[in-house]
Symmetry: C2
Subunit: 517 residues, 2 copies
């Protein structure tokens, strides 16, 4: 902005002074001035960019201070490992090969415990294995005479490197030993090839292994002792957050308590009241909620597959921490994630229903709004209850009540759809006519095309309810696998024998009820 | 399996011989036999597992021979770099530091050109920068006296390592220089800390830089000269494949030419005929297609975001290759991917419509099937044409015709929905009644609830058509950015001035027509 404005001033000034013909000296001054202004502009532009960059960096740090802590941890680990250079006894102890320890720290240190452990264990294991193999190859090569030695070593490097690289393409190997395969190639090539030049090969290998051991131990100590970030806990938190976001997107509860516009909102308002955050609620009230961000929450669910997968992969390496055992069923979190995404796909379809130009008839919207909102809000409650279940790692005694309520809401929505038909369906026989309500007059002037958007919305909502029930199943499975505590604090297994759940606690239409039938 | 079966035989045999009381010797033999059988079982089980693993590995190689070629390339590069050990002049040339070259090859070699170039350039640039900075720090430290030297060096390592680590959290830095930041920390720590012990620091840094240069050059040569796999080409191919899969999922064309069951299929059968691969077609024909895999193709689209992102990121580093320039708009492929996923979400919703128990009335299905199938097949044709456009990098002269056809199909579907209403809507006035068709009798016995599934399906199909049009927009944008050739082989830019596209070539309802209005 600055250079343009100043350049403009320069032009004005030139015209006033030059006064017609002799513009040469003025243009010279103008040129120098222009260069100066251009340079000034560039510097200020650069300064602004740097400032913006620093501001962004500051925001990143301020939003998640754990990132800053991680950086300090890396600095700490590197400074500690530098002591092997600064202290003569330590330096001599590793035979001047302290650089391997430095390299190990830089390459292995990751922001969370799981990834660091994965890399540390892979690095140690692969270095040992490759070292031993390389010794074997070296011995064979040295037996084959001076002339053939390079060929034997070269061929073995070619073969083993190719095979190890190929193993990285096999999914089961990749998920567990990808880094290990790389380190295997590295160490094997080092030790086998060095054997041709280095006289004391055993010392060389020994030093490499011991320095790597020092580096990895240091990393493990720092990562676990200084503000550890556990991958498992992160995955757990992400799952809970995503459930909350999904619930927010669906949430149909009400809204602008004081400013309720339509009468049909009344019976909803009697119950729990928050803001119009769900897309369904916004559709029926025709009022844009204050936070569109909440409605878009389901998009986070859609895009979190990659991070879920990598977290579940790393969490396996973590020891028991917090509420999680060593063999916590992390894979089940991936399944829960898949169920959540399956809900989110439908919410996406729902959103494009509600975002369309409002061609639906108001009277029909009025007729179906109560039950549609009920379905979306009860599904939302179910998901929120599931989030609570996962968060506290305690089975919810009320989840079946919520599921029952959702199923009743779905039933009610189906009935409302049917009652729509009573009006529109020619085939309805006379005896049904007597049940007709004042709805008849309300919908009297509605064309079929105006019904379609609302009917589609209702239909997708019913689908979402079904998918929510599948999500309940996934969480149930997790509760079983991870042995979640029941409400009175006991774990499920311990009380499986001495407690019989009374049937009447679970309302009809729940998942278990269905399974029992 | 084997041990269980054999163990069973063992039990039978024992009973027959022992004949009642004295079971001790038999049980002894039985125990030895059991151990033997268990061991045999274990070995055969292990053998089976190894065999399965090898078979899987073989399949992976057979399905994509380029993976095998990549492995051979890694072996080749490592063998070549080993020459620095095996040849005395080369070994002496790098002062015995050949290991850095080996390490560079192992760490930098990736399956495709883009990722390798990214790592190579990052590694070189970061090594230079860190080397110079470390020299500066070393000089300052050496000026501050023996006592303070370790503290100055340690503090600088702590600070710069922390800052470089933090920079990896900033998205813009991460996407371009993530690996570089790591190598920066590595080299800086090495050179700065080594300065305390190594006397000829300049030689040390010089050797590290020159060996890294040798390693990266070798990698670049091998990766580009031996069967190169270009990331850009891969991304391009993935996009085309995904479009084809999306089109397959939607494809509504027909089917079992000889075994057509319903009369209403007749007019479809007159046109192009393949198999029932689309879910819509399967729904209306009530016949499961032979390849369910094709219908599920859209799921690949849903799950390919991560690979698209990383490929687009690496493709930026690749030089001009094949049809692609250096500054090919790779980011636009990500946008096309997003548009495709937006379609795929709706297909997922559609699929759960069609997978439900067929509660829809056959007569209604019959009434809407032609237009529903028409919409799905024309959308499919549009997407297939887009795939062809992207594949050949040539703008399609017929795409607007296809879009127009799709829009006409949508219009027809809307009309069919309206004509449904003529029957069901009480508000229809008498003058409309005369247009009534034999449909009236057909739907006479249909309840409103039986209409809902089909109406929902139709409604989602209309939504899919709208999203397909958005996809057309994304591809148009790519064609503009990448300067796709028009059909007569010229690129768009070169003929923009001398050609005026006649309006009548584009049927009404196309994207451009809409934009012009």
């Amino acid at each position: 902005m600055a250079p343009v404005k100043e350049g403009f001033e320069g032009v004005e000034w030139r015209i006033r002074v030059a006064d017609g013909s002799s513009v040469v000296p003025v243009s010279d001054i103008g040129f120098a001035r222009k260069v100066w202004l251009r340079a000034k502009g560039l510097v200020s532009c650069l300064g602004l960019n740097v400032w913006m960059f620093l501001k962004k960096a500051w925001d990143i740090g301020a939003n998640d201070p754990r990132k800053v802590i991680h950086c300090l941890k890396v600095g700490l680990a590197l400074t500690l490992v530098s002591l092997f250079y600064f202290m003569r006894p330590l330096y001599d102890g590793v035979g001047g090969n302290a650089m391997w320890a430095v390299m190990t720290v830089v390459l292995v240190f990751e922001p969370n415990v799981g990834a660091t452990l994965y890399k540390c264990l892979n690095r140690m294991f692969a270095t040992f294995l490759a070292g031993f193999l390389a010794f074997g190859v070296h011995w064979i090569a040295s037996q084959s005479g001076d002339r053939f030695e390079p060929f034997v070593v070269g061929a073995s490097v070619f073969l083993l490197a190719s095979m190890a690289t190929f193993s990285r393409f096999i999914p089961s190997v990749k998920s567990l030993f990808d880094y290990g395969a790389m380190i295997f190639i590295l160490t094997f090539s080092f030790v086998a090839v060095s054997g041709y030049r280095v006289d004391k090969l055993f010392d060389f290998a020994h030093q490499r292994i011991s320095t790597i051991f020092i580096g990895t131990s240091l990393c493990i100590l720092v990562i676990i002792l200084v503000c550890p970030i556990w991958c498992g806990q992160e995955l757990h938190g992400l799952t809970v957050r995503n459930m909350d976001k999904l619930a927010d997107s669906l949430n149909g509860w009400f809204f602008f308590l004081s400013r309720s516009r339509s009468l049909f909102l009344k019976d909803m308002l009697r119950t729990s009241v928050t803001t119009v955050s769900g897309c369904v609620a916004q559709y029926f009230t025709n009022i844009k909620g204050e936070d569109d961000k909440k409605v878009q929450g389901y998009k986070c669910v859609l895009s979190s597959k990659a991070s879920e997968d990598s977290m579940a992969n790393f969490a396996r390496w973590e020891p028991s921490h917090g509420q999680f055992n060593f063999r916590h069923p992390w894979k089940q979190y991936q399944k829960i994630g898949a169920s959540m995404r399956s809900c989110a796909y439908c919410i996406e379809a729902l959103n494009s229903c509600t975002n369309k130009e409002n061609k639906a008839a108001e009277s029909i919207k009025k007729h179906l709004s109560t039950s549609c909102l009920k379905v979306s809000s009860t599904s939302s409650s179910v998901i929120r209850e599931l989030a609570e279940t996962v968060k506290k790692m305690k089975t919810s005694p009320t989840i079946f009540m919520f599921v029952g309520e959702m199923n009743r809401a779905v039933e009610q929505l189906r009935n409302d759809l049917k009652s729509l038909s009573r009006l529109l369906d020619l085939s309805t026989t006379a005896e049904n006519k007597e049940h007709e309500t004042p709805l008849a007059e309300a919908t009297g002037s509605v064309s079929f095309m105006e019904i379609i958007p609302v009917v589609t919305l209702a239909s997708i909502l019913i689908d979402i309810a079904a998918r929510t029930e599948a999500l309940v199943g996934s969480v149930e499975e997790l509760a079983k696998l991870a042995d979640f505590a029941t409400n009175d604090g006991k774990s499920k297994k311990s009380e499986m024998k001495d407690k019989i759940v009374p049937d009447e606690e679970k309302p009809e239409g729940t998942l278990e009820a269905v399974q029992r039938v």
